[in-house]
């Protein structure tokens, strides 16, 4: 994240309210959300099931429209129908469940679908699809039917389809919850590279606290309200922040707290097993 481009707000959310209603009652899912996302930011949205994370991110390319307040993408209002195609070209979305996103008879076709609809020369489409397949490690599966892939491979196919469209911003709604740790790391790495090398803005919904630690900015949501907006480091530095967000503290943080209570002098911001090992070795060499 550097340069003048980052000063520009890509997304502006202003006093956003959203309610689902049936005949009997009204259910307020989002309450007075205010949020700016700048071009090139690397953001995670964290919170428990049912807190409104998915509802919030579905507003970012006009899949849902505010009950009150507004959402702007590059200055265009999402509830202005004429702007919608421009907005959706800027903000691509990958959903939680790949089964509901894949439909073509082979992987390659599925990845090409979005980009084919952008009126690009055939040669460009080919290059983009190749690149997207390779970055998700799917080249050897390009002629396989998607329904015969494993859950993780399906999810990578869905991500590749969005990557091929090279949007300005990519929103991912829990894309790794079904992947093994190795593929999870691969996907995270690919997303990080898109952000660093191509300046693509990333908004990543998760409730995996260890994943959330990798981002520059963490927005915590609980009961439809933003309860924290800052760095992940700050979020885990005080137990009151995760508690407010309804997040159970990860085991590594709990262990550090317990050791500190027992008088072990550890630095306060340890967030991975590796960092704890280093800190303990440091202690031992000082003794």
């Amino acid at each position: 994240m550097s340069g003048e481009a980052t000063l520009k707000n890509l997304i502006e959310v202003c006093n956003l309210e959203f309610s689902y209603s049936d005949k009997v009652s009204e259910y307020r899912v989002l309450k007075d959300i205010n949020l700016n996302i700048q071009k090139g930011e690397f953001v995670t949205v964290l919170g428990p099931n049912g807190c409104g994370k998915s509802t919030l991110v579905r507003h970012l390319n006009g899949l849902l429209l505010p009950t009150a307040g507004s959402v702007k993408v590059n200055g265009f209002l999402t509830n202005d129908e004429i702007s919608l195609s421009t907005i959706r070209r800027s903000v691509g979305m990958v959903f939680q469940n790949p089964d509901t996103q894949l439909f073509a008879s082979v992987v390659e076709e599925d990845v090409a679908f979005g980009v084919e609809n952008m009126c690009l020369p055939r040669a460009d489409i080919k290059i983009r699809v190749e690149k997207a397949l390779a970055s998700m490690g799917l080249t050897e599966y390009r002629y396989h039917p998607p329904h015969r892939l494993s859950g993780g491979q399906k999810q990578k196919t869905a991500i590749a389809g969005i990557l091929a469209m090279e949007p300005e911003c990519i929103v991912l709604d829990e894309p790794t919850s079904m992947l093994d740790p190795k593929s999870r790391a691969e996907v995270m790495k690919a997303i990080r590279e898109l952000n660093l090398n191509h300046g693509i803005t990333v908004i990543y919904v998760t409730h995996d606290t260890s994943e959330a630690l990798c981002f520059d900015r963490l927005i915590a949501l609980n009961s439809g309200e933003i309860v924290f907006d800052g760095t992940p480091k700050k979020f885990f530095s005080k137990p009151e922040y995760p508690a407010r967000a309804g997040i159970i503290v990860p085991p590594i943080i709990e262990l550090v707290e317990r050791l500190t209570v027992h008088g072990v002098a550890l630095p306060p911001d340890i967030k991975s097993p590796e960092e704890l090992v280093d800190a303990i070795c440091q202690l031992n060499s000082e003794m």
């Binding site: 494993s150 079904m178 050791l259």
Partner: protein, 281 residues
């Protein structure tokens, strides 16, 4: 209730150009009341293995035995396997279709031909087990519940037929930390109090490592490791395959690499806490 796999192999799309061997010569014995964890990289055959437990897939070669008899021997043995082995799929909430929670949970027992007057009790008991208040939830539509509640409805539907074995495919995927804890506690209770045999496919081992008995590690359809959980975790295998290790063990391995003395194979936060305290004192 016990399950045995004898030389089980499975090939998807056999005889076509995209034929792919998904399981190769798997041998397994899961005893009554045992809790087995299955791990493996994406595409290693974990879900395929699960679908053999109640005959949704039939082995290309080999036999699956339920309490000693081949489940694929006859229609009747297959039906009995479907009743006794409850399968909870990845994202089971996507399969909900009943218009009320009661209808949804009662679907299994009704189709397995339980008497009508028993079904009410079965549904109530099963909803209680998963922590859904019967009076509060029975008439609600499953589609308007939260993600965690939907997952519990799906689990209640499987438990209602009182299976002796329950097999879960990535049951904690997509659940938040509180939902995960609730699910792990529920299954622990079923295993410890009702003696249900548990087969748990997962990528996340930290929460269940202290609870499970044995571990099977698959890679591209092959058995790479199989045995008591702590013995299998102690081998370098999981690290080599890029799989998750319990946080406690990650720390223990890291400290050992730095030449520190750590006893055994710590898998809980308590165990590693004691090890670290004896190191620094």
């Amino acid at each position: 209730m016990s399950i045995e796999f004898r030389n089980v192999s499975y090939i998807y799309s056999k005889g076509t150009p995209i034929a792919r061997q998904s399981l190769k010569d798997i041998n397994l014995t899961i005893n009554n009341g045992e809790w087995l964890v299955v791990m493996g990289p994406t595409g290693s055959g974990k879900s395929t293995l699960l679908q053999h437990l109640n005959g949704l897939l039939k082995p290309t070669a080999g036999t699956v035995l339920l309490d000693g008899s081949d489940i694929n021997a006859a229609k009747s043995s297959l039906k009995s396997a479907r009743e006794k082995v409850g399968l909870v799929f990845q994202y089971p909430e996507h399969q909900l279709f009943g218009s009320t929670v009661f209808e949804e949970v009662a679907y299994g027992p009704e189709n397995f031909g339980f008497p009508k007057d028993e079904i009410l009790g079965m549904v109530e008991a099963s909803m209680n087990t998963v922590g859904l208040d019967f009076a509060k939830f029975k008439d609600r539509s499953p589609h308007e519940l939260s993600g965690g509640e939907k997952r519990r409805v799906a689990l209640a539907g499987v438990l209602a037929s009182r299976p002796g074995i329950i097999a879960l495919d990535e049951p904690t995927a997509g659940l938040d930390s509180a939902g995960k804890k609730h699910l792990v506690d529920t299954i622990t209770r079923l295993n410890r109090e009702s003696g249900i045999t548990v087969i748990w496919v997962t990528h996340e081992i930290t929460e269940i490592a202290p609870l499970a008995d044995s571990l099977l590690v698959l890679e591209q359809g092959n058995t790479r490791g199989y045995g008591p959980l702590r013995d299998t975790l102690a081998s370098p295998l999981l690290g080599e395959l890029g799989l998750d290790l319990p946080v406690a063990l990650q720390i223990a391995n890291g400290l050992r690499k730095q030449g520190k003395q750590i006893q055994g194979c710590p898998v809980t936060i308590d165990e590693i806490e004691q090890e670290i305290l004896s190191l620094v004192r």
